[in-house]
């Protein structure tokens, strides 16, 4: 005879669909069974079985490495890999590399920043090295240095001096760097040439080659000194295809090309950006070779929206509104398929990274019991 206590019987009953008791005697004064109601049983027809809708894709996004370690001919402690995915969603096989965030750093004080950002960065903005250090401390995998002072209409900093700035930043931090130009089409190629030479082998991302400048010079410099190039167009898929092709024809290897179709701020063109990124990703995976490159987005553009920075009581405090505006811009391009994002506000970066980690299934967090929300909110 086996003796079992009542608790054990009850716990077995909870798990079982059917329980058969044979030759048992129960000694108890009263015995109550509270059986749960039977769960959903099909009433009619065949049960439709759930199957994940997995697609086969013809294409694959090139994997691009930013930064190089000592062993690889650079001096970075860690490198960043972008892209490499062969499907649209995780359930189809996963994205190879997690999207990354790069803090923006400038080579001069940015008096034009919105107040919310000035308050955060002004203490370090006289020194790009210090600015970079603070950015890395606040937690991004890489940073962008915008050599904005090289613009002939701003400070006209000579290329040689800009290269020195980059050398200083390379000394100050050990993460991979993205190099932003000033946007002046005559000057940028000259600046990139000098920077590329000074940082030989560091696998920088030169940002950017555009249709309206001498992109061949940038490609040549990138090839000669082993760097990557950002192919930047303004919200136009045909232009993106054309520029990617030009750069490739000029000798830039596919795995050294990152693309940026321009990020419009939330409320100011983000809808175009959203659909263009979705189309870029889908066309690439469906086999368009010339678009099979990771996508980097200038999420910082979110701050161009007046709703992000303007002191307007009717819209609530801008200290909260600004970072949230940037976060939601980031989340939007991320969902469309961005592989990397340039950003500016630490809180927006933190929130975005949390979403990235959650979306890639890496974040372990205390989970809620959703069923209880009616009583627990």
């Amino acid at each position: 005879m086996v003796k079992v206590n009542l608790d054990e019987i009850v716990s077995r009953l909870l798990d079982a669909e059917e329980v058969e008791l044979e030759k048992v005697s129960i000694t108890a004064e009263e015995l109550t069974f509270n059986l749960r109601q039977a769960e959903a049983k099909l009433l009619e027809k065949k049960r439709i079985k759930f199957e994940p809708p997995i697609r086969q894709y013809k294409g694959k996004i090139a994997e691009v490495q930013l930064g190089a370690t000592k062993a690889e001919g650079g001096s970075r402690k860690k490198v960043v890999k972008l892209g490499g995915q062969a499907s649209l969603y995780h359930f189809e096989g996963g994205r190879k590399n997690k999207p990354v965030v790069a803090f923006d750093v400038f080579d001069m004080p940015m008096q034009s920043f919105p107040r919310v950002l000035r308050d955060i960065w002004s203490e370090v903005w006289d020194d790009p090295g210090e600015w970079a250090k603070k950015a890395v401390k606040l937690g991004t995998e890489l940073i962008t240095i915008h050599l904005i002072s090289t613009d002939p209409f701003i400070k006209d900093t000579p290329p040689r001096e800009a290269a020195k700035t980059i050398e200083e930043v390379l000394q100050a931090v050990d993460v991979p760097l993205i190099i932003g130009g000033s946007g002046n089409p005559q000057k940028d190629p000259l600046v990139f040439e000098k920077v590329a030479e000074a940082a030989e082998g560091e696998m920088l991302l030169l940002a950017s080659a555009n249709l309206d400048l001498d992109h061949k010079r940038i490609v040549d410099a990138a090839n000669k000194y082993r760097h990557n190039v950002l192919s930047f167009t303004s919200m136009n898929i045909t232009d993106q295809q054309a520029l990617n092709k030009l750069l490739r024809d000029e000798g830039l290897p596919k795995e050294r090309l990152v693309q940026d179709p321009t990020t419009g701020a939330l409320g100011y063109g983000l809808d175009y950006t959203y659909s263009i990124i979705e189309r870029l990703k889908q066309n690439a995976l469906n086999g368009d070779d010339i678009l099979q490159n990771p996508i980097f987005c200038g999420v910082t553009n979110a701050w161009a929206a007046r709703e992000a920075w303007m002191d307007e009581p009717a819209w609530g405090p801008r200290e909260y509104r600004g970072p949230l505006w940037e976060t939601i811009t980031a989340v939007t391009v991320l969902n469309a398929g961005a592989d990397g994002m340039m950003m500016l506000h630490p809180e927006a970066v933190r929130a975005t990274k949390e979403i990235i980690d959650s979306m890639s299934g890496e974040l372990r967090a205390q989970e809620i019991k959703y069923e209880n929300w009616l009583s627990e909110v």
């Binding site: 099909l42 439709i48 321009t262 809808d271 970072p323 959650s358 967090a365 989970e367 809620i368 909110v377």
Partner: protein, 464 residues
């Protein structure tokens, strides 16, 4: 998407080119049907008996893969779903995600009334569009029938917005439905435990119902099959809302699978709108600013992952504004041209001494600038330069906005005949090319503010 061609539809039409629908040919009507600019009822001949079979086929063919569910009755309703495509660039999205705000039965009458007032009065206008909240979700927090009934009654009396009646207890649901049935609320929710009782309520009160299966896709399918089997047609899907961690990951994947199965794989049992509940953030976040930020971010993710309605908690304008703006963006019609016509426009009643400004022909830039100028009450000329439909900064980067282009625009519009002076106010964002503009045009350039919200103050100070 039901990838239908106009030809497939054309074959089912009378083919008489009668023009009664307003289109010149049946083929044109077929295209209009696909773009949802017309509905099948617009074809008068199709109503004739001899076309009955074709008509049925046509309805089948043109019914969107995501059923449209209407919550509410009478003056204010919320239509959700009705989508044809998975990605907006494939056509357009139709019904913007509906935002429902939660209230519960443990609020005092005063609290409840105040909250209802705030929800009703909430109103922001952005680029000419009113952005508003769409409904109220009344939930039973107390699990007490009397309290819940009172709360529902209060909401029904004070507010004409569409409702969701929320409880997992069918008895409580019935209390709420008895009061609110006339408003055709959405019932939350039929679960695997109590779906049968809830299905009876949905039929008795003819209301749409949420099928809720947190984290389990197979159970969700089973539930919907059961509800359909009972004859329920208006269903909303709930796969659970998880703001963080591994379950968040599962949720985002499940949401993508749900929509792909429904639209691309044509699994009809999943062809229903999806509910997201971002307010679950507040289950373990009590700090108001952090919570509102997290809720808005989570809501954005759910909206981008195809959720057709959301239940939200925070009423902070700074948190709702970005969310409403995102909805405005994502649900804008990508087929509508994004640019306005280039040329010389007037604000107010300008004369030969009035200022002349230029801006891009990107619709959003133009309407923003025009709105700011109008509210400044200063009469002026606005030269709309063809920038290829791009904003000022983007168009300069892509060389779509150049000094030469501005010169051409000045000449083509004969601007110098409209004003006596030769001063051109340019956007602050075009300051970089101010010298080039002066050289090319021979006009004196005045660099205006970077953001046009400052244009009124700028003109008052600088223009005389």
């Amino acid at each position: 998407m039901a990838k239908i061609s106009p030809l497939q539809i054309y074959r089912l039409l009378p083919g008489t080119n009668c023009r009664e629908c307003g289109e010149t040919t049946c083929m044109a009507f077929a295209s209009a049907l696909i773009e949802r600019k017309k509905i099948y009822e617009d074809c008068t001949q199709l109503k004739e008996k001899k076309y009955a079979e074709q008509r049925e086929k046509l309805i089948e063919l043109t019914t969107p893969p995501i059923k449209e569910v209407v919550i509410g009755a009478g003056e204010k309703t919320a239509a959700i779903g009705g989508e044809e495509v998975m990605y907006r660039h494939e056509l357009t999205y139709f019904n913007p995600t509906a935002f429902f705000l939660d209230v519960h039965d443990e609020m005092s009458e005063k609290e409840l009334n105040e909250r209802l007032e705030r929800i009703k009065k909430f109103n922001v206008t952005r680029i000419g569009q009113k952005l508003s909240l769409n409904g109220i979700a009344v939930r039973s927090k107390s699990n007490d029938a009397a309290k819940f009934g009172e709360a529902v009654l209060n909401v029904v009396e004070k507010c004409n917005l569409p409702l969701v009646i929320c409880s997992l207890n069918p008895e409580l649901l019935e209390v709420g439905l008895e009061i609110a049935a006339k408003k055709r609320p959405l019932i939350y929710a039929a679960t695997k435990e109590k779906w049968n009782e809830v299905a009876k309520l949905a039929l008795k009160y003819s209301c749409p119902v949420v099928a809720s299966s947190p984290g389990d896709m197979q159970v969700l399918i089973d539930l919907v099959q059961n509800l359909l089997g009972k004859g329920i047609r208006d269903i909303v899907l709930d796969i659970g809302s998880y703001p963080k961690g591994e379950k968040f990951y599962e949720m985002t994947e499940n949401l993508a699978m749900l929509r792909r199965l429904a639209i691309e794989n044509e699994v009809k049992v999943l062809g229903f709108p999806i509910l997201g509940v971002p307010c679950v953030i507040w289950m373990d976040e009590k700090e108001p600013v952090k919570g509102a930020m997290a809720e808005a971010t989570f809501a954005a993710v759910q909206m981008l992952r195809f959720c057709d309605m959301l239940i939200l908690h925070s009423l902070d304008i700074w948190a709702l504004l970005p969310l409403l703006t995102l909805r405005q963006n994502i649900y804008s019609d990508p087929r509508v041209p994004v640019s306005v016509q280039a040329g010389l426009n007037t604000i107010g009643k300008p004369d030969e001494n009035s200022p002349l400004l230029f801006t891009s022909n990107f619709a959003l830039t133009y309407y923003t600038v025009a709105g700011d100028l109008e509210s400044s009450k200063i009469s002026c000329y606005v030269l709309v330069v063809d920038t290829g439909g791009l904003a000022v900064e983007a168009s300069m980067a892509g060389s779509k906005l150049t000094a030469e282009g501005i010169k051409r625009a000045l000449e083509e519009t004969k601007a110098s005949e409209k004003v006596k002076h030769k001063k051109l106010i340019i956007p602050g964002r075009a300051a970089r090319i101010s010298g080039e503009i002066e050289d090319a045009t021979g006009w004196e350039v005045m660099v205006g503010p970077v953001d046009s919200s400052k244009i009124g103050a700028y003109l008052k100070e600088k223009w005389r």
